[in-house]
């Protein structure tokens, strides 16, 4: 008999758990997400780093300290199996004054305790060798070569596609409204789309993990959002080769300066604690953005003029009571596993979290996990015109002329790429056509013009492929429709 597992939340944690659990013959895995697509919560807006694992104090935050380095190692495997865009470019934690070296020594020592390989402190000469355009005020740095960067939403998408290919069932656009518990044992989850039976419920609900836990009668922790804001610059602005951190203060890891995986200079985040109820507050603020700008300038003085900004955005990190990840089977509700408070380094830790959860199911819930004889670890990335040589373009055009037609002119995204993205959306069960779903899969609309040329064309393609009126296509899910009706709709209504 198969045990039914319901995972609440298709962010990086829930997706990774789904993938790892899809390996087992005797589990039926359901992945439930209230957004129309995967990875749209905490996973969407962050610094996209695979951290080195030196930062988390093993005494205060033992789970973080253990899983971060383990996750970092696992990502090396996962990015290859799943063809996730990534770069392993290493990080420099930069010293600007002599006292900073004391803190860097502490980080180095902590890194050694956490098992981080290859870290070392570099002097002024070497720091400029590693990062020629760093601020002239730098006097050295902690060099952490194992740090890397990935596309966080592409990662969630890749993982979910692989999980679905291995039998995981998704329930997107499905909001959990209750957890059914009988005789101290979970029975399933109530959703706006009906009841989903489950023997094991995994709460990976990100910012809302405390609310989900309360539905199971568990209230020993609270999640409050911590806002971080970012600036993103045009791709012709030179950025650093490495991930640049300032020497941390007791309060913050500081403003990072980096060239993200798509080649854009990005700076951020600041950290602003919000009250627990403001879990949807993704508004950028003048003060926050200016703080980021000032912070980034300390490491990268040559920030471009504001006319080179292509986007500003904010993300929320789920800060739990106590500050450490909460990953455990709850005794009050047998079968209920919390995966809560997955704040930084959550993205890095995700694969390790997933194996941790599999271990909990086996050890603590006593479900003896049996591996599938056939499990496919691989997933192919969709076609990207911008990665093809002209010869490859001509091969693709033989399959479908749409591969020769550019829709997003800033990033060279073809109509063929977009049609593939829509096919993949349908494959994982995306039911609401959204421009953002196409954007995260193809990079269309993320370039210099921010979509003013291509968004109308993408809307047409989504409307056609989903058989809806074009004005019902959304930007980012229900309530964000791109129009209110056809061009004559008001006049006809008023007539």
């Amino acid at each position: 008999m198969k045990a039914k597992v319901a995972i609440i939340g298709a962010g990086i944690s829930g997706a990774s758990i789904a993938r790892v659990l899809s390996r087992y013959e005797n589990l039926e895995v359901h992945l439930i997400e209230k957004a129309p697509d995967v990875g749209w919560g905490v996973s969407k807006a962050n610094t996209a780093l695979i951290h080195g694992g030196y930062d988390d104090d093993p005494e205060r935050y033992p789970t973080r300290a253990k899983l971060c380095i383990k996750g970092n190692r696992l990502w090396h495997q996962w990015v290859k199996e799943l063809e996730i865009p990534h770069v392993w470019n290493g990080a420099l934690i930069v010293a600007l004054k002599d006292e900073d070296f004391e803190e860097l020594e502490r980080l180095l020592e902590r890194g050694h305790r956490n098992g981080v390989p290859e870290m070392r402190i570099v002097d002024k000469d070497e720091v400029f060798h590693l990062e020629p355009n760093l601020t002239r005020k730098a006097i050295g740095a902690l060099w952490v070569p194992i740090v890397g960067q990935i596309g966080p939403i592409p990662a969630v998408i890749a993982i979910v596609e692989n999980a679905v290919a291995n039998g995981v069932k998704t329930h997107l656009g499905t909001e959990v409204v209750g957890i059914k518990i009988e005789n101290g044992e979970v029975k399933g989850v109530e959703t706006n789309n009906g009841f989903i039976e489950a023997d094991v419920v995994i709460n990976a609900a990100g910012l809302h993990a405390d609310e989900i836990a309360k539905m199971a009668g568990i209230d020993y922790f609270e999640i409050h959002p911590r806002k971080g804001e970012y600036w993103l610059f045009d791709d012709d602005v030179p950025g650093p080769r490495r991930v640049l951190f300032p020497t941390p203060t007791p309060i913050s890891k500081g403003i990072v300066v980096t060239t993200e995986v798509s080649g854009h200079l990005m700076i951020g985040p600041n950290a602003q604690d919000l009250p627990p109820k403001e879990k949807e507050n993704l508004a950028t603020t003048r003060e926050g953005l200016e703080n980021v700008w000032e912070g980034a300038k300390k490491l990268w003085p040559q920030l471009p003029p504001r006319s080179k900004v292509i986007r500003t955005f904010a993300g929320l990190r789920p800060e739990p009571t106590g500050g450490d990840f909460i990953i455990k089977a709850e005794e009050e509700a047998w079968g209920f596993i919390n995966v809560a408070g997955i704040r930084s380094p959550g993205l890095t830790s995700a694969p390790a979290i997933a194996y941790e959860v599999a271990g909990i199911i086996q050890r603590e819930l006593g479900i003896n996990l049996e591996k599938k004889s056939k499990w496919n670890p691989y997933r192919r990335e969709i076609s990207h015109f911008f990665m093809m040589t002209p010869e490859q373009v001509n091969e693709a055009i033989k399959r479908n002329p749409a591969y020769g037609k550019i829709v997003c002119r800033c990033n060279n995204v073809s109509e063929g790429d977009i049609l593939e993205a829509i096919e993949r959306m349908k494959f994982i069960g995306v039911k609401t056509p959204s421009v953002d779903s196409v954007k995260f899969r193809t990079k269309a609309t993320t370039g210099t013009c921010q979509g003013s040329f291509c968004r109308p064309k993408i809307i047409q393609l989504l409307a056609r492929e989903y058989s809806v009126e074009p004005w019902k296509v959304t930007l980012k899910g229900m309530g964000s429709e791109v129009g209110i009706g056809d061009v004559k709709s008001i006049l006809r209504r008023d007539a």
């Binding site: 040589t389 010869e391 013009c449 040329f453 429709e481 129009g483």
Partner: protein
């Protein structure tokens, strides 16, 4: 070095099938050149087919036309002449292999090709500045459009973006979109203009009166809030230095924010091959053939500088084609002592930048600030033209005769001064 894809050969490849590109391709063909016109859209005309309002063609066709009609006239001529053109074709890369050998790699539904050509006329137009570029903060929700995108949605694809609209920018495009929204029954709640004067032509400013639309001069939109969709926008007054005045903020309820904050020439591909850009126009530095510093690369239309009148855009296209012919016939534009055109008082931008003195030219320029009873002067040649009113919104086109240019020494300074 070059990919193994089908090879084509031309005298001139024109990149961009808007009015500048079509006019250039037509002229090049008339001059006997073998020309290929490439455009990335499914139809020719560039932005014109969505500019459904009148006001086009008074100079070029001596008749008032709408945008699609203007485009259609050029397209008809193009087809009659048998100009070869490809739509849905996007240029990926330009290589300047040698002065008379350039390679344009482009993709299309029928395949990727390399077009070898002697000259290139670059007429790729411009892009719009967007909400992030002008520093609008707040929620990243649906309902924020550039004016051009709103226009594409409404007038090409028949989608009404919203019903309560705030427009940023009182330039012509912003005002024209105000009229489009108002005509289709939407409520245009305000036009917000950063400067202390309206940015558009007087005939477009009249739209505000026609539809009772409030215009806020010296104001800016600073923030957008909403869940999923724009719900309200925050507006602040600015002082004479364009700084926000604390305490002046107020909110307007709206479901749509249309940003019409100016255009930027699309010249990234030219920059990559070393074309020098004039920071004030945002387009290339050119001589009076509209040739850039890279020999045989010509530029016209909004890629050269932002125009208000399509008529001048088409005129520039023709000029570039004539330059290309000269370039091909003579194996290059003869090097000479160019007269450099300098920006004097109250001149914000101008093109072309270098004049030969062997032909009559038009200088296109914009002033930095409005002025009444002004005089345009070129002291080096003793030219003085009275101008009752000058405005940054209205491009000036100044005719200069070859003899006048010859009188100048190494430079020629254009200034607009109060008399």
């Amino acid at each position: 070095m070059f990919p193994r894809i089908p090879m084509l050969n031309y005298d001139v490849v024109v990149i961009g099938g808007g009015p500048a590109g079509m006019a250039a391709a037509i002229r090049a063909k008339e001059l006997g050149l073998k020309v290929l016109l490439l455009d990335e859209n499914d139809y020719l005309g560039g932005i014109l087919p969505q500019c459904i309002h009148p006001g086009f063609g008074l100079h070029y066709f001596r008749e008032e036309l709408t945008g699609p009609e203007f485009a259609s006239r050029l397209a008809k001529r193009l087809v009659e002449l048998g100009v070869q053109y490809k739509t849905a074709s996007r240029v990926l890369e330009i290589t300047n292999y040698s002065d008379l050998e350039k390679v344009v790699i482009f993709t299309s539904p029928s395949g990727a090709y390399q077009a070898w050509t002697k000259a290139i006329i670059y007429t790729a137009g411009a892009r719009e500045r967007h909400a992030f570029e002008i520093g609008i903060i707040g929620d990243r929700v649906s309902g924020i459009y550039t004016a051009g995108e709103a226009q594409t949605l409404m007038d090409i694809y028949g989608i009404l973006p919203g019903k309560d609209v705030v427009i940023v920018g009182s330039g012509d495009v912003g005002l024209i979109m105000a009229r489009r929204f108002a005509l289709e029954g939407a409520k245009v709640k305000a036009v917000i203009e950063l400067m202390p004067y309206p940015g558009g032509l007087a005939r477009n400013v009249m739209i505000l009166r026609d539809f009772n639309i409030p215009l806020y001069l010296s104001h800016k939109v600073v923030e957008v809030r909403g869940k999923g969709r724009v719900e309200r926008v925050k507006v602040m007054k600015v002082d004479e230095n364009l700084r926000e005045i604390p305490g002046s903020e107020f909110w307007i309820d709206a479901d749509t924010l249309v940003v019409s904050a100016g255009l930027v020439p699309s010249v990234k591909k030219l920059k990559r091959i070393g074309v020098e850009i004039d920071p004030s126009t945002g387009g290339p530095v050119v001589n009076d053939r509209l040739e850039t510093n890279v020999p045989g690369i010509f530029v016209a239309g909004n890629s050269l500088l932002i125009n208000d009148l399509v008529d001048y855009v088409a005129e520039q296209g023709e000029l570039a084609a004539e330059g290309a012919r000269e370039f091909i016939e003579n194996g290059g534009i003869e090097s000479r002592k160019w007269v450099k055109v300098e920006k004097g008082e109250n001149v914000r931008l101008l093109a072309p930048h270098y004049l030969s003195g062997d032909k009559d030219v038009y200088l296109y320029l914009r002033v930095a600030k409005p002025m009444e009873n002004a005089e345009l002067r070129i002291p080096e040649v003793g030219k003085e033209i009275k101008l009752p009113v000058v405005k940054p919104a209205e491009m000036l086109r100044l005719s200069l005769k070859a003899e006048e240019i010859k009188k100048a020494g190494e430079t020629l300074t254009v200034e607009v001064v109060k008399v």
